[in-house]
Point group: C3
Chain length 201, copies 3
């Protein structure tokens, strides 16, 4: 994927993840620092877990400060304009969906770069895209919403599998673009149609 497109999506995705972190934190009445930590963890947690599990350390956000800066600007802006930001719910959801696609592919490729099995790479893509919200929920003392309410990880997993299906037959850049569109697309459809997995018992 062209670097500049990837870079812009990464920033938009990070903004969206940060905003969602800020709202979750505000609901629990945290102070400024608490809100900042939760926002940071929501936006960077998935990639951090991935880096720690595969041993790529110091973790990514310590070596490239672009995303930390985005979070540091987005957090106070969201707090101050928290009533106005709500009007952009749909825009933020789109950023989130496209961010999920990009982060999944980034995570998957990091797995490939350390020669892991494709199945493990799919898991790493999903962890990168989805597990920031798990760390956020653990810190906010609630059961991760990822595990029960919405179809969020499934597009990630499906897109990761699609990546390895297409890779032998299509150019790598094209595969990346297709998979990101595919993941964002399923995520948006699943959300608008309120698809859900069954729960048991």
């Amino acid at each position: 994927m062209p670097f500049s497109a990837s870079f812009i999506i990464e920033i938009l995705g990070t903004i969206s993840f940060t905003v969602s972190g800020v709202y979750s934190a505000l609901q629990k009445r945290l102070d400024i620092l608490g809100v900042l930590v939760i926002a940071f963890v929501t936006a960077t947690g998935g990639g951090t877990i991935r880096d720690v599990l595969i041993g790529v350390t110091p973790v990514t956000w310590m070596r490239d400060l672009t995303l930390p800066c985005v979070i540091l600007i987005t957090t106070p802006a969201t707090i101050i304009f928290r009533k106005k930001v709500r009007d952009y719910k749909i825009t933020l959801f789109l950023f989130d969906a496209i961010g999920l696609g990009l982060f999944t592919i980034i995570g998957l490729q990091k797995g490939l770069s350390v020669s892991l099995h494709p199945a493990v790479c799919v898991v790493l893509g999903t962890v990168t895209g989805c597990f920031g919200s798990v760390v956020r929920d653990v810190l906010l003392n609630q059961i991760p919403t990822l595990f029960r309410t919405e179809i969020y990880a499934t597009p990630s997993i499906a897109g990761g599998i699609l990546y390895f299906v297409l890779l032998p037959v299509v150019d790598k850049t094209v595969v990346e673009v297709i998979c990101i569109i595919f993941i964002s697309g399923i995520r948006i459809i699943a959300f608008t149609r309120k698809w859900r997995f069954p729960s048991f018992l």
Copy 2:
């Protein structure tokens, strides 16, 4: 310990840990993906924490996919047959006890392989055998049962100490077998006699 015996116990232990993860997740009404993540984390969490703390990365389950496959088969099977599986409670408890023994010794030996102090190796053995349930409980938003209801970690710790007591005087393979039997034995006795540690205040 002969490789094949170790391998079979590892699989039986993993099945038992997975089943316990599935039941815990079902009680919290998670969806399929949530149940799978909890089952996975219950079965692999202890070893993953150990690997991350000692810096053996990518963590073990990423490099050998046997146990992930066992978990991937056991989870849906347990969900589907969840009423029947309950009849095998005692069998599963025995798998769990023997798994605790084996995982403790595996963890302890990983510590030795990176030249850590015996006391740290005993801790690593205990972490490997017992901390999957801690990660599970944290994700399910409950205080880890390891910390309050049952004697679970104590056999692990005692068996780890026994390992270093016997090692200078007995053949290594024999020490391994003795320690696994010892840990499983104490675990079974502690469970059937409902031994408990006191809590305070």
Copy 3:
């Protein structure tokens, strides 16, 4: 800073962190092992997270057993004398404040030793000084107090910034001493005057 002074503060700080862990655990009616794990995690958790994120493994407490021994002695002593220990609340608070200062500077310098950006080093200092309590609270199933009730991380952050402001103009040992006094001092003033950050919504 002279090694011996640093060493003594490290032990006093660890004692204080351990005692605070023991009290938190006792309130949740954990058994002996649970209390020990919580005490251990409170005292070592910040440094452990730092080491894992920057890839310095095996983590520090596995390579130098001084602090684990301090925790292992302090925990049962605190349990046994738990009514008497309360009379030393102010002493323990002073140990805690000075420990916060020292651990912050230790963490910051670990970041420098792997060539990270000063801003990241300030974060690592704060994580080292403050995040043991976050792990403790997550394991005890409560929202981290760090995120909402007291000004705890702020002195750490301010002291970290001061470190890099002074470093070009003052001798390194002097900078260390000034920053530790500065962090402890703000922490003590913030506590006694009950400073708080605002929370929102």
